[in-house]
Protein backbone atom coordinates (compact mmCIF):
# COMPACT_ATOMS: atom_id res chain seq x y z
CA UNK A 1 0.00 0.00 0.00
CA UNK A 2 2.77 2.42 1.00
CA UNK A 3 4.88 1.61 -2.08
CA UNK A 4 1.85 2.16 -4.31
CA UNK A 5 1.26 5.56 -2.71
CA UNK A 6 4.85 6.62 -3.40
CA UNK A 7 4.60 5.47 -7.01
CA UNK A 8 1.43 7.47 -7.58
CA UNK A 9 2.90 10.52 -5.89
CA UNK A 10 6.11 10.30 -7.97
CA UNK A 11 4.10 9.74 -11.17
CA UNK A 12 1.99 12.80 -10.42
CA UNK A 13 5.06 14.93 -9.89
CA UNK A 14 6.61 13.64 -13.12
CA UNK A 15 3.43 14.24 -15.14
CA UNK A 16 3.10 17.79 -13.88
CA UNK A 17 6.72 18.70 -14.55
CA UNK A 18 6.60 17.11 -18.01
CA UNK A 19 3.38 18.94 -18.88
CA UNK A 20 4.97 22.23 -17.91
CA UNK A 21 8.11 21.53 -19.91
CA UNK A 22 6.11 20.74 -23.02
CA UNK A 23 4.74 24.28 -23.41
CA UNK A 24 4.84 25.65 -26.90
CA UNK A 25 7.77 27.84 -27.73
CA UNK A 26 5.91 30.25 -29.93
CA UNK A 27 7.39 33.57 -30.79
CA UNK A 28 5.36 35.60 -28.34
CA UNK A 29 6.03 38.93 -26.66
CA UNK A 30 6.78 39.00 -22.93
CA UNK A 31 5.79 41.94 -20.69
CA UNK A 32 5.98 42.55 -16.93
CA UNK A 33 2.83 43.63 -15.05
CA UNK A 34 2.26 44.57 -11.44
CA UNK A 35 -0.53 42.47 -9.90
CA UNK A 36 -2.01 42.46 -6.36
CA UNK A 37 -0.53 39.99 -3.91
CA UNK A 38 -0.57 39.47 -0.20
CA UNK A 39 -0.91 37.06 2.66
CA UNK A 40 -3.25 34.10 2.17
CA UNK A 41 -4.56 32.61 5.42
CA UNK A 42 -6.46 29.34 5.46
CA UNK A 43 -7.56 26.40 7.53
CA UNK A 44 -7.26 22.72 6.69
CA UNK A 45 -10.80 21.31 6.71
CA UNK A 46 -9.65 17.68 6.78
CA UNK A 47 -8.43 18.17 10.37
CA UNK A 48 -12.08 18.57 11.44
CA UNK A 49 -12.98 15.26 9.75
CA UNK A 50 -10.16 13.22 11.31
CA UNK A 51 -11.93 12.71 14.70
CA UNK A 52 -14.67 10.75 12.89
CA UNK A 53 -12.06 8.20 11.74
CA UNK A 54 -9.56 8.52 14.60
CA UNK A 55 -11.65 9.53 17.64
CA UNK A 56 -8.62 9.73 19.92
CA UNK A 57 -7.09 12.76 18.22
CA UNK A 58 -7.92 16.44 17.75
CA UNK A 59 -6.04 18.52 15.22
CA UNK A 60 -6.03 22.02 13.82
CA UNK A 61 -3.91 23.34 10.97
CA UNK A 62 -3.63 26.91 9.73
CA UNK A 63 -2.01 27.42 6.34
CA UNK A 64 -0.22 30.60 5.32
CA UNK A 65 1.35 31.62 2.06
CA UNK A 66 2.56 34.86 0.55
CA UNK A 67 3.58 35.51 -3.03
CA UNK A 68 7.20 36.49 -3.26
CA UNK A 69 7.93 36.56 -6.98
CA UNK A 70 6.11 35.77 -10.15
CA UNK A 71 5.74 32.06 -9.39
CA UNK A 72 7.29 31.62 -5.97
CA UNK A 73 5.27 31.66 -2.76
CA UNK A 74 6.63 31.49 0.75
CA UNK A 75 4.46 29.02 2.67
CA UNK A 76 3.99 27.80 6.23
CA UNK A 77 1.66 25.47 8.11
CA UNK A 78 0.93 25.88 11.82
CA UNK A 79 -0.43 22.76 13.51
CA UNK A 80 -1.82 21.78 16.88
CA UNK A 81 -2.49 18.21 18.01
CA UNK A 82 -4.04 16.58 21.04
CA UNK A 83 -4.19 12.80 21.58
CA UNK A 84 -6.08 10.93 24.27
CA UNK A 85 -6.28 7.21 23.62
CA UNK A 86 -7.26 4.37 25.91
CA UNK A 87 -7.89 0.68 25.26
CA UNK A 88 -7.24 -2.62 27.04
CA UNK A 89 -3.54 -2.58 26.04
CA UNK A 90 -2.48 0.96 26.90
CA UNK A 91 -3.45 4.56 27.53
CA UNK A 92 -1.69 7.42 25.80
CA UNK A 93 -1.83 11.21 26.10
CA UNK A 94 0.00 13.89 24.17
CA UNK A 95 -0.22 17.48 23.04
CA UNK A 96 1.99 19.74 21.01
CA UNK A 97 2.48 22.17 18.17
CA UNK A 98 4.26 22.02 14.86
CA UNK A 99 5.35 24.43 12.16
CA UNK A 100 6.57 23.79 8.65
CA UNK A 101 8.17 26.52 6.57
CA UNK A 102 9.15 26.49 2.92
CA UNK A 103 8.12 27.57 -0.53
CA UNK A 104 5.63 26.63 -3.22
CA UNK A 105 6.31 26.99 -6.92
CA UNK A 106 3.37 27.67 -9.22
CA UNK A 107 3.64 25.36 -12.20
CA UNK A 108 1.00 27.22 -14.21
CA UNK A 109 1.99 29.92 -16.66
CA UNK A 110 -0.59 32.66 -16.35
CA UNK A 111 -2.51 33.61 -19.44
CA UNK A 112 -4.59 36.41 -17.88
CA UNK A 113 -3.03 38.97 -15.49
CA UNK A 114 -5.50 38.53 -12.64
CA UNK A 115 -5.98 34.80 -13.00
CA UNK A 116 -5.27 33.31 -9.59
CA UNK A 117 -5.46 29.56 -10.08
CA UNK A 118 -2.39 27.68 -9.16
CA UNK A 119 -1.03 24.16 -9.47
CA UNK A 120 2.02 23.96 -7.31
CA UNK A 121 4.79 21.84 -6.00
CA UNK A 122 6.28 22.66 -2.64
CA UNK A 123 9.12 21.89 -0.29
CA UNK A 124 9.08 22.58 3.44
CA UNK A 125 11.08 21.93 6.57
CA UNK A 126 8.99 20.99 9.60
CA UNK A 127 9.60 21.21 13.31
CA UNK A 128 7.39 20.26 16.23
CA UNK A 129 7.55 20.38 19.99
CA UNK A 130 5.30 18.04 21.92
CA UNK A 131 4.84 16.25 25.21
CA UNK A 132 3.55 12.71 25.58
CA UNK A 133 3.12 10.02 28.19
CA UNK A 134 1.88 6.46 28.51
CA UNK A 135 0.12 6.50 31.90
CA UNK A 136 -0.40 2.76 31.79
CA UNK A 137 0.22 -0.25 29.61
CA UNK A 138 -0.34 -3.95 29.99
CA UNK A 139 1.64 -6.86 28.55
CA UNK A 140 -0.70 -9.79 28.72
CA UNK A 141 0.46 -13.34 29.56
CA UNK A 142 -1.82 -16.21 30.56
CA UNK A 143 1.14 -18.19 31.82
CA UNK A 144 3.20 -15.71 33.86
CA UNK A 145 0.61 -13.07 34.59
CA UNK A 146 0.31 -9.56 33.20
CA UNK A 147 3.15 -7.07 33.29
CA UNK A 148 1.90 -3.55 34.04
CA UNK A 149 4.04 -0.47 33.42
CA UNK A 150 3.95 3.20 32.56
CA UNK A 151 6.09 5.82 30.86
CA UNK A 152 6.25 9.25 32.41
CA UNK A 153 5.69 12.52 30.60
CA UNK A 154 8.47 13.40 28.19
CA UNK A 155 9.01 16.37 25.86
CA UNK A 156 10.43 15.71 22.40
CA UNK A 157 11.03 17.48 19.13
CA UNK A 158 10.36 16.24 15.61
CA UNK A 159 12.12 17.36 12.42
CA UNK A 160 11.05 16.49 8.93
CA UNK A 161 11.10 17.57 5.30
CA UNK A 162 7.95 17.69 3.26
CA UNK A 163 7.17 17.46 -0.44
CA UNK A 164 3.77 18.63 -1.61
CA UNK A 165 1.70 18.91 -4.75
CA UNK A 166 -1.62 20.72 -4.91
CA UNK A 167 -3.99 23.19 -6.46
CA UNK A 168 -5.70 26.38 -5.31
CA UNK A 169 -8.69 27.91 -7.04
CA UNK A 170 -10.19 31.37 -6.46
CA UNK A 171 -13.92 30.65 -6.06
CA UNK A 172 -14.90 34.15 -4.95
CA UNK A 173 -12.85 37.32 -4.95
CA UNK A 174 -9.87 36.60 -2.65
CA UNK A 175 -11.49 33.38 -1.36
CA UNK A 176 -9.70 30.17 -2.31
CA UNK A 177 -10.37 26.46 -2.10
CA UNK A 178 -7.57 24.00 -2.59
CA UNK A 179 -6.31 20.52 -1.91
CA UNK A 180 -2.84 19.16 -1.71
CA UNK A 181 -0.94 15.91 -1.21
CA UNK A 182 1.96 15.78 1.23
CA UNK A 183 4.74 13.29 1.75
CA UNK A 184 6.71 13.90 4.94
CA UNK A 185 10.02 12.24 5.77
CA UNK A 186 11.10 12.24 9.39
CA UNK A 187 14.70 13.38 9.86
CA UNK A 188 15.19 12.22 13.45
CA UNK A 189 14.14 8.64 12.79
CA UNK A 190 15.55 7.47 16.10
CA UNK A 191 12.38 8.93 17.62
CA UNK A 192 10.17 6.62 15.53
CA UNK A 193 12.35 3.63 16.39
CA UNK A 194 12.58 4.28 20.12
CA UNK A 195 11.01 1.85 22.60
CA UNK A 196 8.06 4.19 23.14
CA UNK A 197 7.65 6.40 20.06
CA UNK A 198 4.91 9.05 19.94
CA UNK A 199 1.59 8.05 18.36
CA UNK A 200 1.29 11.42 16.61
CA UNK A 201 3.89 14.11 15.91
CA UNK A 202 2.02 17.43 15.50
CA UNK A 203 2.25 18.63 11.91
CA UNK A 204 3.93 15.40 10.78
CA UNK A 205 1.51 12.53 11.36
CA UNK A 206 2.02 9.06 12.78
CA UNK A 207 5.09 9.27 14.97
CA UNK A 208 6.03 5.59 14.95
CA UNK A 209 6.58 5.65 11.19
CA UNK A 210 9.44 7.37 9.43
CA UNK A 211 7.27 8.47 6.56
CA UNK A 212 3.81 10.10 6.61
CA UNK A 213 1.46 10.59 3.69
CA UNK A 214 -1.25 13.21 4.10
CA UNK A 215 -3.90 15.19 2.27
CA UNK A 216 -5.13 18.71 3.01
CA UNK A 217 -8.29 20.45 1.83
CA UNK A 218 -8.08 24.14 2.59
CA UNK A 219 -10.29 27.16 2.50
CA UNK A 220 -8.30 30.37 2.57
CA UNK A 221 -8.62 34.12 2.20
CA UNK A 222 -6.12 36.39 0.50
CA UNK A 223 -5.42 39.71 2.22
CA UNK A 224 -4.06 41.93 -0.59
CA UNK A 225 -1.14 43.84 0.93
CA UNK A 226 1.33 44.59 -1.85
CA UNK A 227 2.07 44.05 -5.52
CA UNK A 228 4.46 41.77 -7.33
CA UNK A 229 5.75 41.84 -10.88
CA UNK A 230 4.30 39.12 -13.04
CA UNK A 231 5.56 38.00 -16.40
CA UNK A 232 2.89 37.81 -19.10
CA UNK A 233 3.24 36.49 -22.62
CA UNK A 234 1.13 38.23 -25.22
CA UNK A 235 0.18 36.39 -28.39
Amino acid sequence: MKIRSYCIFSLLLLCTVTATAQSKKDSIKTIMLEVPAGLRVGVDLTRFVIPFFQPYRRDATVTLDARYKDRIYFAADLSYNLVDHSDTNYTYKSSGVGISIGANYNLLKKQVPKENFMVYGGFKYGFSLFTYEVPGYNIHSDYWGDYVGSVGSTTKTGHWVELSLGIKVEVLKNLYLGWSLHDRILLNRALAKSDFPPLIIPGFGKGYKGNAFDVQYTISYLFPLYKVKQQMKLK
Binding site: I8, H85, D87, Y137, Y147, F213, D214
Partner: protein, 156 residues
Protein backbone atom coordinates in the same frame (compact mmCIF):
# COMPACT_ATOMS: atom_id res chain seq x y z
CA UNK B 1 -4.31 12.69 -15.82
CA UNK B 2 -7.37 13.63 -13.80
CA UNK B 3 -8.01 9.95 -12.93
CA UNK B 4 -4.44 9.63 -11.67
CA UNK B 5 -5.01 12.69 -9.49
CA UNK B 6 -8.31 11.28 -8.22
CA UNK B 7 -6.73 7.93 -7.33
CA UNK B 8 -3.84 9.71 -5.61
CA UNK B 9 -6.26 11.76 -3.51
CA UNK B 10 -8.27 8.66 -2.56
CA UNK B 11 -5.11 6.78 -1.57
CA UNK B 12 -3.93 9.76 0.46
CA UNK B 13 -7.29 10.08 2.23
CA UNK B 14 -7.40 6.37 3.07
CA UNK B 15 -3.79 6.35 4.26
CA UNK B 16 -4.17 9.45 6.39
CA UNK B 17 -7.53 8.51 7.93
CA UNK B 18 -7.18 4.82 8.81
CA UNK B 19 -7.44 4.14 12.54
CA UNK B 20 -4.28 2.23 13.44
CA UNK B 21 -5.41 1.66 17.02
CA UNK B 22 -8.12 -0.77 15.83
CA UNK B 23 -5.91 -3.18 13.91
CA UNK B 24 -3.16 -5.44 15.21
CA UNK B 25 -1.71 -7.36 12.27
CA UNK B 26 1.53 -8.45 13.95
CA UNK B 27 2.39 -11.60 15.88
CA UNK B 28 2.80 -10.16 19.38
CA UNK B 29 4.19 -13.33 20.97
CA UNK B 30 7.77 -12.95 22.14
CA UNK B 31 8.79 -16.49 22.99
CA UNK B 32 12.10 -18.26 23.35
CA UNK B 33 12.66 -21.14 20.95
CA UNK B 34 14.84 -24.19 21.36
CA UNK B 35 16.03 -26.84 18.89
CA UNK B 36 17.22 -30.30 19.86
CA UNK B 37 20.45 -31.63 18.28
CA UNK B 38 21.93 -35.06 18.80
CA UNK B 39 25.57 -35.99 18.17
CA UNK B 40 25.57 -39.51 16.78
CA UNK B 41 28.80 -41.35 17.76
CA UNK B 42 27.90 -44.22 15.46
CA UNK B 43 27.82 -41.95 12.42
CA UNK B 44 31.13 -40.00 12.46
CA UNK B 45 29.81 -37.68 15.17
CA UNK B 46 27.44 -36.05 12.70
CA UNK B 47 24.94 -33.89 14.54
CA UNK B 48 21.33 -33.78 13.45
CA UNK B 49 17.90 -32.75 14.71
CA UNK B 50 16.31 -35.19 17.08
CA UNK B 51 12.88 -35.76 18.63
CA UNK B 52 11.86 -37.13 22.03
CA UNK B 53 9.07 -39.57 22.90
CA UNK B 54 7.54 -37.78 25.90
CA UNK B 55 8.71 -34.23 26.38
CA UNK B 56 7.69 -32.32 29.49
CA UNK B 57 8.42 -28.66 30.17
CA UNK B 58 7.18 -26.30 32.81
CA UNK B 59 8.51 -23.30 34.71
CA UNK B 60 9.29 -24.22 38.32
CA UNK B 61 6.15 -23.72 40.36
CA UNK B 62 3.93 -23.23 37.30
CA UNK B 63 1.66 -25.29 35.06
CA UNK B 64 2.89 -27.45 32.21
CA UNK B 65 3.82 -25.92 28.88
CA UNK B 66 4.38 -29.35 27.37
CA UNK B 67 3.19 -32.52 29.16
CA UNK B 68 4.60 -35.81 27.82
CA UNK B 69 4.32 -34.44 24.28
CA UNK B 70 5.66 -36.93 21.66
CA UNK B 71 7.68 -36.22 18.54
CA UNK B 72 8.90 -32.66 19.15
CA UNK B 73 12.18 -31.57 17.57
CA UNK B 74 12.03 -28.22 19.37
CA UNK B 75 9.93 -26.15 21.72
CA UNK B 76 8.85 -22.59 22.30
CA UNK B 77 7.97 -21.04 25.62
CA UNK B 78 7.48 -17.71 27.33
CA UNK B 79 10.14 -16.17 29.54
CA UNK B 80 9.02 -14.56 32.80
CA UNK B 81 7.87 -10.97 32.13
CA UNK B 82 7.96 -10.09 35.82
CA UNK B 83 11.57 -11.01 36.73
CA UNK B 84 14.96 -11.15 35.03
CA UNK B 85 15.34 -14.93 35.20
CA UNK B 86 13.32 -18.07 34.65
CA UNK B 87 13.91 -21.74 35.50
CA UNK B 88 12.29 -24.68 33.76
CA UNK B 89 11.84 -28.36 34.49
CA UNK B 90 12.80 -30.15 31.28
CA UNK B 91 12.35 -33.90 30.78
CA UNK B 92 12.82 -35.68 27.47
CA UNK B 93 11.22 -38.95 28.55
CA UNK B 94 9.32 -40.00 31.66
CA UNK B 95 11.97 -42.71 32.22
CA UNK B 96 14.86 -40.21 32.14
CA UNK B 97 16.11 -37.85 34.81
CA UNK B 98 14.88 -34.28 34.29
CA UNK B 99 17.20 -31.34 33.71
CA UNK B 100 16.74 -27.77 34.89
CA UNK B 101 17.15 -25.01 32.34
CA UNK B 102 17.98 -21.56 33.70
CA UNK B 103 17.67 -18.32 31.71
CA UNK B 104 19.04 -14.97 32.82
CA UNK B 105 18.14 -11.92 30.77
CA UNK B 106 17.25 -8.24 30.68
CA UNK B 107 13.70 -7.19 29.87
CA UNK B 108 12.75 -4.26 27.65
CA UNK B 109 9.12 -3.26 27.05
CA UNK B 110 8.67 -2.19 23.43
CA UNK B 111 5.77 -0.36 21.78
CA UNK B 112 5.34 -2.11 18.43
CA UNK B 113 2.24 -0.48 16.95
CA UNK B 114 -0.80 1.59 17.82
CA UNK B 115 -3.04 -1.46 17.38
CA UNK B 116 -0.89 -4.05 19.16
CA UNK B 117 0.46 -1.88 21.96
CA UNK B 118 3.45 -2.98 24.03
CA UNK B 119 5.29 -6.32 24.04
CA UNK B 120 8.24 -7.48 26.15
CA UNK B 121 11.60 -7.94 24.46
CA UNK B 122 14.28 -10.02 26.20
CA UNK B 123 18.03 -9.79 25.85
CA UNK B 124 19.49 -13.13 26.91
CA UNK B 125 22.52 -12.91 29.16
CA UNK B 126 23.19 -16.56 30.04
CA UNK B 127 21.51 -19.91 29.68
CA UNK B 128 22.68 -23.00 31.47
CA UNK B 129 21.42 -26.45 32.23
CA UNK B 130 22.07 -29.38 34.49
CA UNK B 131 23.66 -32.18 32.50
CA UNK B 132 21.65 -35.32 33.26
CA UNK B 133 20.46 -35.67 29.69
CA UNK B 134 21.37 -32.33 28.14
CA UNK B 135 25.06 -32.18 27.21
CA UNK B 136 25.34 -28.48 26.55
CA UNK B 137 23.37 -25.33 25.69
CA UNK B 138 24.26 -23.00 22.83
CA UNK B 139 22.74 -19.51 22.50
CA UNK B 140 21.96 -18.81 18.84
CA UNK B 141 20.17 -15.48 19.28
CA UNK B 142 20.36 -13.22 22.31
CA UNK B 143 17.31 -11.20 21.29
CA UNK B 144 13.87 -12.62 21.94
CA UNK B 145 11.39 -10.50 19.98
CA UNK B 146 8.25 -11.01 17.93
CA UNK B 147 10.59 -12.04 15.06
CA UNK B 148 10.55 -15.50 16.69
CA UNK B 149 14.09 -16.52 15.85
CA UNK B 150 15.60 -19.62 17.39
CA UNK B 151 17.07 -18.74 20.81
CA UNK B 152 19.02 -21.81 21.92
CA UNK B 153 20.14 -25.21 20.75
CA UNK B 154 20.13 -28.01 23.28
CA UNK B 155 22.80 -30.57 22.47
CA UNK B 156 22.31 -34.21 23.55
Amino acid sequence: MKYVMLIAVLVAVLTACDDDTKVCDLDTRTEARARFRYLNPNNNNVEKDTAFPKLTLFALGKDSIYAKRPGLTGMQFQLDRLTDSARYYFQTDSAKIADTLTFRYARQPKFISAGCGVVMYFNIDTVFSTTHVVKSVEITSKQVTEENENTIILHF
